[in-house]
């Protein structure tokens, strides 16, 4: 399946992916209206080991521990292999957060799980973080 991969040697640490992610998932058609004066809670996070920066989002694992631990069926794989979230089923127990070795699933302020769904659950149709990365540090491809 097509997944998001990170070429950390190209990451500038600009955090633009975080803002584009928040915009993509806002449901609002204008980036200013979507983000101005708002605290963002994106599905991709730029982290650093002190020397180098890298963008972390869900890896859509072949055998995802988050799904193994999900008691509500809110997390499941779609037909392409992407790990998707059904918020209406989530009870917010946090089992997915307890097991994800990437720290890529979180419980939002709404009390339900959220994570990168490859922009398949919004109107972008392809990951906006990839499209807007100014240095090609995030790619979306088949491997």
């Amino acid at each position: 399946m097509k997944k998001i991969y990170v070429k950390e040697e190209w990451c500038l640490g600009c955090h633009l992916c975080e803002f584009e992610c928040a915009y993509a998932n806002s449901g609002i058609g204008n980036i200013v209206l979507a983000l101005k004066d708002k605290e963002i809670d994106p599905n991709v996070k730029v982290l650093s080991d002190g020397k180098i920066t890298f963008a972390v989002s869900c890896r859509h694992c072949d055998e995802p521990l988050c799904i193994s631990a999900c008691i509500s069926g809110a997390l499941s794989k779609d037909e392409t292999g992407a790990v998707m979230v059904d918020k209406s089923k989530c009870v917010g127990c946090g089992s997915c957060v307890m097991v994800c070795p990437y720290g890529a699933v979180r419980i939002t302020k709404e009390g339900t799980a959220n994570k990168c769904q490859l922009c398949m659950n919004n109107s972008c149709g392809e990951p906006l973080c990839v499209k807007k990365c100014p240095n090609g540090a995030i790619v979306y491809e088949e491997k």
Binding site: Y5, S48, F54, V56, S72, G73, S76, V97, G103, R106
Partner: protein, 409 residues
Amino acid sequence: MKKYVLIGGSIATKGAIEGILSVDKSADITVICGEKRPLYSRPLISYALEKKTTDEKMFFHGEDYYEKKGVKAVYGVAEKVDPEEKVVIAEGKEYPYDELLVATGSKPFVPPIKGLESVTKKHTFYTMDDMLALRADLEKGGKVLIVGAGLIGMKCAEGVKEYTDDIVIADMAPRPLPAATTPEAGAIVQERLSSIIDFRLNAALDHFDGNKAVFGSGEEIEFDILVLALGVRPQVGLLKEIGAEVNRGIIVNEKMQTNLPHIYAAGDVVESYEAVGESKRLLQLFPSAYLGGKTAGKNMAGEECVFLTDIPMNATNLFGVRITSAGLFVGEKTEVTVGEDYRALYAEGGVIKGFILIGDSTRAGILTDFIRKKRPIGESDTKELLAGRDLSVYPADERRAALGGKYEI
């Protein structure tokens, strides 16, 4: 076509079905469900009682899960396994197998308490039927006594609270969640919940007299509805009577095989390898059941695989207090308090053995991964690990490979 029979219709069976089908696409699978319901998620019963989810959504992968997977479901109780003839007898009919999974789970433990027979409305809280029966009584109103302040009792209380504020939880232990938390964490949970729940701790139940519980101290508590949440016991009978190695649970190896040929076991019924203590024990947890079942399924279908990374773990939210833990609480303890949050990490010999977090659990899975894989803590500061853990704590080449898609952590 290979015939697979799976006894039990819960999470281990779900894992096994998915494990078998990942190897053997044409598998002939029969599930024998003693509970006489399609696959549902037992941990959701408290959420359904609480109205945080619906009865329909408890069938967490659809009421037609077995049909979707091409699995035959037999709703009935398995009475006997004949390992010579390789058949299971259920409701008088024979089901032949090439490979068998026993995932019979456990049953609530109800000790012989004097006078229990005189209690009119008494419940356990383990299955969907238990929840429906309790809900029917709660809807008529009344005061509730829950005996047992473990996870089942506490989650039950959260659901009961939806119907009445008149709840007492009693336990012999000095604090709630005695098994799932440490004394320090348990005390914090107790303190945070004491305005919501009327606890009777260090309270040994002596007997019942009608709808009155009498404790060793002489205290008497009257109630209308009783819930007994005193733990569960594995249902080992089917295999014990044919000579399987059984301790408290059915003993399985790292492939989830019992000592009997072509018979596997997984889920709440087994004692299986636990990676922190490096010994076999009852884990009785949702992820353990699923992954153990999946391991069994793959092996049953002919793909060799082992499950060596199972550890105790729990994530829950009780009345808004989030409690996340993994591993064993042994070794040297590091504690950090951040605002309302309490975090403790246990390490020994340069590896993390366990952790418990009350409050924010962001990226807790990274700590869990340290435990499961026995990653060396190395130069990481344990306090920093507790505070700001993220992917940068893994070795750089491993992180790079994982983000680059060459490897899954």
